[in-house]
């Protein structure tokens, strides 16, 4: 037996990719110094959307579970952070009623901060609580469904309902959430250090995603996605793996939500709703599911073109979105990155032949 043979493994972080990434990161990090303010404000948002899409990709692209309610976790992260910021902002900037608690509490008849919200005055605590709560909810949801082998269409519909219910609950309990109006006017956090923070977190999640999918556990996840029966008969507790990934992905989504709330300065129930969730799925699908870079490309491309086209094209934009869903499903199943990847490997094969 020949010892110490190796298979060629694509490097976890190939040099060209690292160089390209450093270039892109530097370009984004310094953009505010030379770019337009409006585009800067979009950049921060899109980065958060990218992380959100990445979180969907982790469960859909890498374990095959389609969640149409990922917005739930994004929303939880966003609401905890925004509430905390709003409470703090209201305390020093008197609201229109002159009080020191958020205005939506006042017009709902509250006269002081409810007891359970007092801890939210501490921003780091609020953020951590949001992340924890989102992950916990994902865990509970995973245990309920995955352990009972509820996958596929059923799971998709239940997650959709989940986000719908959260959305309605947010609107209903407006004394604590701002209701239909969302939470707004809590100071401006679209500052360069926040942009850098978002960028750093994006890089970290990118690396985590890459490690999760290109290491041993990544191979296991792919094997579960490819053939969960085989994996089960190979001794893997498939449900546990899925719950784990679902929790990680929810954590990511919640983090994205938290940063989005700080950057954007306004959030609403829509950030937790089904439409946003499904939009995230389409970003992932367009970029290429099952790839780490795909969600980033998809989010920037779809969202970017929406912002720059929808003003001029108004209703046409929605038509394009609808057609995009169908196109991605029928024609471009692997998304942009997947299609390019396939074309590339086919070319390589042609050349080597």
């Amino acid at each position: 037996m020949v010892q110490n043979r190796q298979v060629y493994k694509a490097p976890m972080f190939p040099l060209w990719a690292v160089i390209a990434a450093v270039g892109i990161v530097l370009a984004i990090a310094t953009y505010p110094f030379y770019g337009a303010a409006y585009v800067t404000s979009l950049l921060g948002k899109f980065l958060c959307f990218s992380i959100f899409a990445l979180s969907i990709d982790l469960i859909w692209g890498f374990t095959g579970i389609l969640s149409l309610g990922q917005g739930v976790y994004f929303g939880i992260g966003a609401y905890f952070t925004a509430l905390s910021l709003k409470i703090n902002y209201a305390a020093v900037n008197p609201t229109r009623y002159g009080g020191t608690i958020p205005d939506f509490m006042e017009w709902n008849g509250l006269t002081e901060l409810p007891g359970f919200m007092v801890p939210l005055q501490n921003l780091p605590f609020a953020i951590i609580a949001g992340l924890f709560f989102a992950t916990l909810l994902a865990f509970i949801f995973g245990v309920i469904t995955f352990k009972r082998h509820i996958y596929g269409v059923y799971c998709a519909v239940i997650t959709l309902a989940e986000s719908l219910i959260l959305q309605e609950a947010i609107i209903e309990y407006q004394a604590y959430t701002g209701g239909f109006n969302g939470i707004t006017d809590y100071g401006t956090h679209a500052q360069i250090n926040v942009l850098w923070l978002i960028l750093v977190v994006t890089i970290i999640f990118f690396i985590i995603g890459r490690i999760l999918t290109h290491s041993r556990i990544g191979t296991i996840l792919k094997s579960i996605r490819d053939n969960d029966t085989r994996a089960e008969f190979m001794g893997y507790n498939v449900a546990n793996y899925r719950i784990f990934v679902f929790c990680v992905s929810s954590f990511m989504a919640a983090t994205a939500g938290a940063m989005y709330a700080a950057w954007n300065g306004i959030i609403s129930f829509l950030d937790a709703g089904p439409v946003f969730s499904i939009e995230g799925v389409i970003w992932t699908a367009v970029g290429g599911r099952g790839t780490i870079i795909g969600p980033f490309i998809g989010a920037f491309l779809v969202k970017g073109s929406e912002y720059f086209l929808s003003g001029k094209l108004a209703w046409t934009w929605q038509l394009i979105m609808g057609a995009l869903f169908i196109f991605v499903v029928l024609v471009m199943r692997d998304g942009i990155v997947g299609t390019i990847g396939k074309w590339w490997s086919a070319r390589k094969k042609r050349i080597s032949n």
Binding site: M1, N4, R216, S223, A231, M234
Partner: protein, 250 residues
């Protein structure tokens, strides 16, 4: 010698049909047992029952002294039962190497596999298996480039990698050429040297090449059991294969 697997009066029904009918069956440790039988005799169902895919209607399955009836497949696997499916059941987008890698024994828990790396020993073991199943050259290729026979071998390799106590092989030679069948039979013989194997097989050439003890199933029950040479002479068995009515006593 002790029985590593004991199936006691197993009965199962699928949408009204009785597939297994009060079946008793056992395999000794380190035995290579070939299970024969016409289509619909219940061979695959038996494997499904043992590996926990379906729950039996009644009866017991005892593996290594432990009652595993109705356990989840992954739990049964961890106790040492691996199965091969009739149609090769692989991880289609992974490479050949990775297919073996995720099948290596141990580290089935989420947290352990999160931290686990492929060690030097693992790597050597994978190559050993790849050599064994004659796929070392294909290590980096993705599974969908393999021929049918190679896919069968790969699945065998995956089973070996998981170091089970008992291998259940469901028709590992279907769809192969004569040459392929011979090679596969050799592989199985080698595997049987240090594993307990239950082989469901149709191809009599293969059976003749490797079988020592044979069980013939028909209509969910054991029709005959014993050394191959004896079973082949059994009139009832001949009838199943050669057409004398099964129960008409000729």
């Amino acid at each position: 010698m002790t029985n590593i697997l004991e199936v006691k009066s197993l009965t199962t029904k699928v949408s009204g049909y009785t597939i297994l009918n009060n079946l008793d069956f056992s395999i000794q440790e380190n035995e290579l047992r070939v299970v024969l039988g016409p289509n619909g005799a219940g061979k695959t169902t038996l494997i499904d029952m043992i590996t926990g895919r379906y729950k039996p209607k009644s009866g017991k399955i005892i593996f290594n002294g432990e009652d595993i009836t109705g356990m989840a497949p992954d739990k049964i696997f961890v106790r040492g039962v691996s199965r091969k499916f009739q149609v090769p059941n692989l991880y289609e987008t992974l490479s050949v190497y990775d297919n073996i890698m995720v099948s290596l024994k141990g580290r089935r828990k989420v947290m352990k596999s999160l931290l686990g790396k492929v060690t030097k020993q693992d790597n050597n073991r994978i190559w050993e298996i790849l050599d064994f199943i004659m796929l070392a050259e294909k290590a980096e290729d993705s599974v969908d480039t393999l021929g049918h026979g190679q896919r069968q071998w790969l699945e065998l390799g995956m089973l070996v990698a998981s170091e089970p106590k008992l291998l259940l092989l469901d028709e590992p030679t279907t769809g192969m050429t004569k040459d392929g069948k011979e090679k596969t039979a050799e592989l199985i013989e080698k595997i049987a040297l240090d594993h307990t194997v239950m082989l469901v097989e149709h191809d009599m050439d293969v059976v003749r090449q490797i079988a020592k003890n044979v069980t013939v199933l028909a209509q969910g029950q054991t029709l005959a059991e014993g050394p191959l040479s004896e079973v082949v002479e059994n009139q009832e068995v001949k009838a199943v294969y050669l057409g004398k009515g099964v129960l008409d006593g000729t």
